[in-house]
């Protein structure tokens, strides 16, 4: 039976969603390559959700690659490690990709170092107690690498009254342009499944499920080849945002996570492909999170590629490595084109949550003139959370933030931007919804 026929068996999905061009052809066939070290690295202390890390090194101190340079600043916080052997040259406020100034450790690379890893001994996670295992995750700097950068040890701390039945690995990569997870599934399928297995043992789950969009048939074949019994690889329909946790679960199990709830509430734990690989490397190789795969692509970069990048690499250096930004470039975006963030400066670094670096040119749709809403309902059809984005935007413009939440379920929105994508009047719907969330938080806290 051919791979295509196997895929035709079932490609499940969710209600709503959109079909953007995937733009993945430029990089999906390019093997991951390691980026050479550059002169200096910038490590913001806030690159995860939660409290910033606390530095444990001083300016002028020599650090070795893999050494802890900042410890967790609280329960919801993780450690940070030197991506390179060198010297700490500054700890001060620097521009963060989110547009704010954030305390940042700057490390100048030692050009004469062998760049050997300060690795700990590999350990079998099954032999560790729960708290020991979770503290290793926290001190290993592990966060979700799918984009949100939520600390893994917090996600894995399953309350006593909950039981996890299935561990789901998210291999959808539904954002256009991005191919880093696709390449990881192709090149390191064992590590993907090994990480899943570590998770399953830790939380006591009996089943592992990998959801992959069916446009990555080769990745599905690669994973199935190494899958152990009890592990299933599920092909899913190609539709954005298939990779959103709740929609992924809906597609695979036809079960819906309750509004405001977590997958844990129905016995499911979801992690991304990248996180799974990082987890395997942490325990089997003893290396903390100091590098990740980034897809550098788009019409305005000279040589698109998938690069294994040390965290803290400035975008400028990464672009130089990829042949440079072409003269027609108009926008540089961190992340995917649907949920990513445009950058003004190329001096900001690659973070733990950076999955892609998009270089767009004028051929990318410009911020077009906004027309009045004609109430066509395309946003309503597209919304995977079954909300009414046009109405939400209308209420946000009228300062009626409480009504947005009470009648129109504002907080169910996870900002996938499918509504803005389809709007024929080019209304920035998701942006108005963000405004609503922010203003509601402010009003409620004051």
């Amino acid at each position: 039976m051919s791979a295509a026929m196997q895929l035709a068996e079932r490609t499940r999905s969710f209600h709503g969603g959109v079909h953007p061009d995937d733009h993945k052809a430029a990089t999906c066939a390019l093997p991951i390559e390691r980026m050479p070290f550059v002169e200096r690295y910038l490590l913001p202390l806030a690159q995860h959700i939660g409290a910033p890390s606390r530095p444990v090194v001083k300016v002028g101190e020599d650090v070795q690659r893999g050494q802890t340079i900042a410890e967790p600043g609280g329960f919801v916080s993780v450690a940070l490690h030197a991506p390179v052997t060198g010297r700490v040259t500054a700890i001060d406020l620097r521009l963060h990709p989110n547009g704010t100034m954030v305390p940042t450790i700057e490390i100048a690379t030692d050009p004469y170092s062998s760049q050997r890893f300060a690795r700990t001994d590999p350990v079998d996670p099954a032999s560790l107690g729960r708290d020991e295992m979770l503290s290793r995750l926290q001190n290993g700097g592990l966060v979700g690498l799918g984009g949100a950068a939520f600390p893994s040890h917090v996600k894995l701390r399953v309350p006593e009254d909950r039981r996890v039945r299935v561990v789901v690995i998210n291999g959808c990569e539904c954002e256009p342009y991005l191919t880093c997870d696709h390449r990881l599934m192709l090149e390191r399928p064992e590590a993907v499944l090994r990480g899943a297995q570590i998770l399953a043992v830790q939380v006591g789950a009996e089943e592992i499920c990998v959801g992959v969009e069916s446009n990555k048939a080769d990745a599905i074949v690669a994973l199935r080849r190494v899958a152990a019994p009890g592990t299933t690889v599920v092909p899913l329909a190609v539709k954005y945002p298939q990779g959103a946790e709740k929609l992924l679960i809906d597609a695979i199990f036809e079960r819906k996570v309750p509004t405001g709830g977590l997958p844990l509430d129905i016995g499911i734990l979801v992690n991304s492909v990248g996180t799974s690989v990082a987890l395997a490397d942490l325990f089997d190789e003893g290396i903390p999170l100091t590098e990740r795969v980034v897809t550098v692509t788009g019409p305005a970069v000279a040589r698109p590629r998938n690069v294994l990048v040390p965290l803290g690499t400035p975008l400028r250096a990464l672009l130089d490595h990829c042949g440079g930004l072409l003269p027609q470039a108009t926008q540089v975006v961190l992340g995917g084109p649907m949920m990513g963030m445009a950058q003004k400066s190329l001096d900001v670094p690659v973070l733990k949550g950076t999955s892609g670096l998009l270089c767009l040119d004028r051929s990318a749709p410009a911020p077009a003139v906004e027309l009045p809403c004609i109430r066509c309902g395309r946003c309503v059809e597209a919304c995977p959370m079954l909300l009414n984005p046009a109405r939400l935007a209308q209420l946000a413009k009228a300062d009626r933030f409480e009504e947005m939440e009470e009648r129109y379920h504002l907080t169910s929105c996870f900002e996938c931007a499918a509504c803005s994508f389809v709007c024929p009047s080019r209304i920035p719907l998701v942006q108005w919804i963000r405004v609503g969330k922010t203003m509601l938080r402010k009003r409620r806290s004051s």
């Binding site: 949920m339 963030m341 004609i374 009414n388 389809v422 080019r426």
Partner: protein
């Protein structure tokens, strides 16, 4: 350019970041825009106009032209400023052409023009422009004309075919506020025949459109093709016309079975009058209909039900216009009560 120069230029552009544009996500957009939606509807309406010219000659073109000029002119006068006007979104022009297609083929041109002015002025601009109006603007224009000039709006003519293409009915060129010479023999529409003479027009004639009636409501076959085309191109919400047609078919079918002597057959109800024209061009107006899927079903079904009631039990032979306007009034309420349950949750 030699390779070293090329790479120097690229290096230089990587150094330069000052002109990078900051916008918020998403950075990808679907290609369909609002003016494009309006243009597609306009093209479909112009196809209907072309057939109308075949049946009613140059008069059809002039009446629709007058209504469109009234609509577009009003929009231009009211919205022009230093930058431009909102004519570029094609919505005013579309409203004008659609209004023109609902008018009788012997209507004085000045009335058609006035209808266009009222459609845009009273039907759209006073509400705040595109997207803000509660009632379908083209039908507001027509309702105004019907109230102001009831005789002219119910004076019909039989289609003449291509001979005499350039012959204009004298009433067409009547001066404003002067009594129009009515020398044209007023013909009866199929619905009028059914209501007052109990005579059911041949379905073949209804399909081709070779009957008396408003300019756009003639050929059922052409309207069906236009509707299917627009629905397949996802220009409008297919639920709206479908609900309307199902509702008319079901209700008139039930009445026909109960009392075949006094009720026209359902197929006649579906193919005659402005029903198909309204199903394709009027109930599909996104602005004045609910944007929720559930609301679309309710709206369409409501229009269909009212049409059957008015046609069979009301004083008028035709009731599509009032049915839609009545349901327009309910749109905000229907929409409010048909919000979907959010994913994984309760209301």
């Amino acid at each position: 350019m030699t390779p070293p120069e090329r790479s120097r230029e690229i290096r230089a552009s990587t150094r330069r970041a000052a002109d990078l544009v900051l916008t918020t996500a998403p950075f990808e957009r679907a290609s369909l825009t609002t003016p494009q939606i309006m243009r597609e509807v306009l093209v479909a309406a112009l196809l209907v106009l072309a057939l109308s010219c075949w049946f009613f000659g140059l008069a059809a073109l002039l009446i629709v032209g007058a209504a469109a000029a009234g609509a577009a002119g009003t929009e231009w006068v009211a919205t022009r400023n230093g930058i431009g006007t909102s004519l570029g979104d094609y919505s005013a022009l579309t409203t004008g052409v659609l209004l023109g297609l609902t008018l009788p083929p012997v209507l004085p041109l000045w009335m058609a023009f006035l209808g266009g002015v009222v459609a845009i002025g009273l039907g759209k601009l006073v509400w705040g422009g595109l997207g803000q109006n509660l009632f379908n603007p083209a039908l507001v224009g027509r309702a105004f004309l019907q109230a102001a000039f009831p005789t002219a709006l119910t004076t019909w003519a039989n289609p003449r075919g291509l001979e005499g293409f350039f012959d204009l009915p004298p009433s067409l060129l009547a001066l404003p506020l002067f009594r129009a010479e009515v020398d044209a023999v007023s013909a009866a529409t199929p619905l009028g025949l059914a209501k007052f003479e109990h005579e059911i027009t041949d379905l073949g004639a209804l399909l081709v459109g070779n009957t008396a009636g408003s300019l756009g409501e003639t050929s059922a076959a052409l309207l069906a093709v236009c509707g299917l085309w627009l629905a397949l191109r996802r220009i409008f919400d297919w639920r709206l016309p479908l609900a309307m047609l199902i509702s008319v078919g079901a209700l008139s079918g039930a009445l026909f079975l109960a009392n075949p002597a006094s009720s026209p057959p359902p197929l006649f109800m579906l193919l005659s009058g402005g029903l198909l024209f309204a199903a394709v061009f009027m109930v599909t107006d996104p602005v004045t209909t609910p944007s929720t899927p559930g609301g679309a079903w309710i709206f369409g079904a409501g229009v269909g039900g009212l049409v059957v009631l008015i046609r069979l039990f009301g004083g008028l032979p035709e009731g599509v216009m009032y049915s839609i306007l009545l349901m327009n009034a309910l749109t905000p309420h229907v929409e409010r009560h048909t919000q979907r349950r959010p994913f994984g949750g309760s209301r």
